[in-house]
Amino acid sequence: MNKFMRFLPFLVFGVLGAFLAYGIGKDPTKLPSAVIGSPLPEFRLLDVHDDTQFITESDLTGQYALLNFWGTWCPACHIEHPYLMELAAQGVVIYGVDYKDQLEPAREWLVRYGDPYRRVVFDVGGKLGFDMGVTGAPETYLISPDGVVLARYQGPVDQQVFETVFRPLMLTN
């Protein structure tokens, strides 16, 4: 066996190791969302406010609305929450999706910090999030009156984001 062949396994492992090291700390779930421009995916999930009721995609249509993925486990959602309260007070329709979360803490949160949502979908298994290409909370989508996804924003929404990403589409569409 010549020298190169002896070192081959080590070299192969070196290349492999480099890829593994690259992967550390990167979020493998970060994928571009393919839903923009298409209708909301079909779903049928419980309502956080009243868990005997189901919410489906058709319940979210009728006006421009924000669809906000959040969770009590998500620190950035704390930061975002007051601005959502403000938007709701201005009359913007916001639907919440309680994403990979638990029912009781979610209700507690809405009581403690206020409830900006018209309805809150309980997406415990992350199914709706998966269909929408959600990579983490918070994430917010703009839905047209006929139920088409118009825009997406990853991270906490603030006034600047709302004015630049969502507001223009709500006027022109």
């Binding site: 070192f7 396994p9 992967g23 638990q102 029912l103």
Partner: protein
């Protein structure tokens, strides 16, 4: 208090591992038999300390000590006691501890049952194992202690064990898998010791064989039971998904199987020695890679523990040191002039070489497929994930070809030039073809059905024929005195045949429908009629559920009553599908509740899965085969 005791015991284990890693190794270079045999007390201390640590964690669970973070996050006072115990290995921190404890069992077993092994080699194997144990100890102590407290504000109630893990399959699946994974540490230790001692020969291969066979056997059972768990618990009737974590367990298994066979060539013929060495390092490396993939979060999977870069980095360092170090040593110190007996194209060696080539090609395929999302992302080729088609396209033809060759390899003689090889094959081929045509006639005459049955029966018939030849026509005294190693081989090969029929039939001939059902509704699937008798609410210890009672009729006769459930776990609000399965030799009846519909009806999935059990039976046979091979008395005798 008990958590602190567990942590203290873990530190003792750390110290014992450190001593084990250093002392016998130093002894082996100083030629001091005292230092080389100090492993016995050290292995005992290590085992007792880790047992204490695991028991401490179990007690914390049983006592509902929610001041311990790990307990608070993974248990609940309503959880049944047996799930409290299994919660010990139900999540990241505890499962590493549990895995380490299993390593200590392997270490103590090796330290007790390796009297035949050359003293220097043995001391070095044990030191390598000490080093592996040290790495895991450090990993737990520095990044993943299950004994951390939530003080001063301990929660009054725990947040419950993931309902997916509240299942019998989950109780036994991880331990078995860990026994397999960790067992390859011994093969790895043998490889490193061989390189350090410049000692690579037939005797070395004989010493390494039983340990490898047993590890491979347990890994097989672990994978099979994991697959069974997914089938019973995930609720959609699949049993293999090419999920990254499944792949992570499959890769060491493939290499382990290759290793078991290449070791036999190395022992019997002194051939493939450097290859065997490389496989020994690879099997353990792939086990470590599996641990890395599961615990670092670099790949998404249903099994993955929470992503944590710090832990990922730590395992990556262990991986670099163990694998990189091992392979570097291989490059630098591989003994030269390894002499092997020559063999021809009809020699058993040649068929075992093909077996190894196939297995390694499948392994590389799975490895690339599993890491592809990571590689593509690193090279900026976009976000890609690899689907089942890719894996199936390569693995199925490879497995098929390999299975065809299995009996031929066993019929062939070492070295080759067996003129009657062709005539030996004739009868089993003809007989299996006959059975396959018969089965095909009973089922559907399709070519694929006949191929599946032929392949399965070819392995079964040929193996039976080989047993007949080895025992002079099933002579009773010969049967009784047949080496358990041979029994192991026959049983494993027959197990592959059984599994092939299971996999093939369930893929080709299963029927499933998704239907809407109310009370009194009936649906026919295959030749079975499913009638929904009633819906009823049920209460479990820590969940509430909706259940449906479904009677299944075959030719107007009631054959089974199934009660699938949709459970809702109280503490987490998680909804779980509890499928109901009636298992039979030739078919499983599988019913799962989907979603509730508006007027009280439910969406229900009804399945008839052909020959499903045979997949598990085949796996169980391979497991038993591995054990029998490992406990062959030949390995306990002195080498002539």
């Amino acid at each position: 208090m008990v958590a602190e005791f567990g942590l203290f015991a873990l530190w003792i284990a750390f110290a014992a591992s450190l001593l084990l890693a250093v002392v016998p190794m130093v002894g082996s270079y100083r030629d001091s038999s005292l230092l080389m045999t100090v492993d016995r007390p050290l292995a005992r201390v290590l085992f007792i300390a880790l047992s204490g640590s695991v028991i401490a964690l179990a007690i914390a669970f049983l006592n509902d000590d929610f001041s311990v973070a790990y307990v608070a996050n993974h248990s609940n006072s309503l959880l049944p006691w047996y799930y409290k115990i299994t919660a010990v290995w139900g999540s990241h921190e505890g499962s590493v501890l549990f895995q380490l404890w299993i390593l200590s069992i392997w270490i103590i077993a090796f330290s007790l049952f390796s009297k035949r092994v050359d003293t220097v080699l043995r001391a070095r194997v044990l030191s390598v194992l000490g080093l592996v144990s040290l790495g895991f100890c450090a990993f737990i102590l520095f990044t993943s202690s299950p004994f951390e407290r939530l003080l001063p504000f301990a929660p009054g109630e725990g947040s419950d064990l993931n309902p997916l893990l509240q299942d019998f399959g989950m109780i036994i699946h991880p331990p078995l898998l860990y026994i397999g994974y960790v067992g390859f540490a011994i093969s790895y230790g043998f490889a490193i010791a061989a390189l350090l001692s410049n000692r690579l020969d037939r005797e070395w291969a004989r010493w390494a064989r039983p340990w490898t066979a047993i590890a491979m056997g347990f890994l097989t059972l672990g994978i099979v039971i994991g697959s069974w768990w997914a089938y019973a618990e995930l609720g959609w009737g699949g049993w293999w998904f090419w999920d990254p974590v499944e792949n992570a367990s499959l890769m060491p298994w493939l290499v382990g199987v290759a290793l078991v066979h290449s070791l036999s060539v190395s022992e019997q013929r002194g051939a493939f020695l450097s290859w065997t060495l490389l496989l020994s390092i690879s099997a353990f490396s792939l086990s470590l890679l599996g641990a890395f993939l599961v615990r670092s979060g670099v790949i998404t999977s249903v099994h993955a523990f929470a992503s944590d870069p710090e832990r990922g980095m730590f395992i990556l360092w262990i991986l670099f040191i163990a694998v990189g170090g091992g392979l570097l040593l291989y490059a630098l110190k591989l003994p030269k002039n390894l002499k092997a007996k020559p063999f021809g194209l009809t020699g058993r060696e040649f068929f075992l070489l093909l077996n190894n080539v196939f297995l390694v090609v499948i392994t590389v395929t799975v490895l690339i497929g599993t890491l592809w999302p990571l590689i593509a992302d690193a090279l900026n080729w976009g976000k890609i994930s690899v689907g089942a088609q890719y894996f199936n396209a390569i693995a199925i033809p490879m497995f098929t070809l390999m299975s065809v060759l299995v009996p031929i390899g066993v019929y062939a003689n070492w070295g080759g030039s067996s003129s009657e090889l062709g005539s030996k094959l004739l009868v089993p081929i003809a007989l299996s073809l006959l059975i396959a045509l018969g089965a095909g006639a009973l089922i559907d005459f399709s070519l694929s059905t006949i191929l599946v049955w032929w392949l399965g029966c070819w392995l079964l018939v040929a193996t039976l024929d080989q047993l007949r030849r080895a025992t002079a026509g099933f002579n009773k005294t010969k049967l009784m005195s047949l080496r358990s190693g041979l029994w192991g081989m026959y049983l494993s090969h027959a197990g592959i045949g059984v599994a092939i029929i299971g996999v093939g039939m369930t893929t080709l001939h299963s029927a499933e429908v998704d239907v809407r059902m109310g009370e009194g509704d009936s649906h026919v699937v295959g030749s079975y009629e499913f009638t929904l008798r009633e819906f009823a609410p049920l209460r479990g210890p820590n969940y509430q559920s909706e259940s449906a009672t479904i009677d299944v009729y075959y030719r107007e006769r009631l054959v089974a009553t199934l009660v699938p459930e949709k459970r809702r776990y109280v503490a987490t609000g998680q909804i779980m599908t509890e499928a109901a399965v009636d298992d039979g030799l030739t078919r499983d009846l599988y019913v799962a509740l989907g979603e509730p519909l508006d007027n009280g009806d439910w969406a229900v999935r009804l399945q008839v899965k052909s020959f499903m059990r045979w997949v598990w039976y085949g796996g169980a046979m391979i497991f038993l085969g591995g054990l029998l091979a490992g406990f062959d008395r030949r390995y306990r005798r002195k080498y002539e």
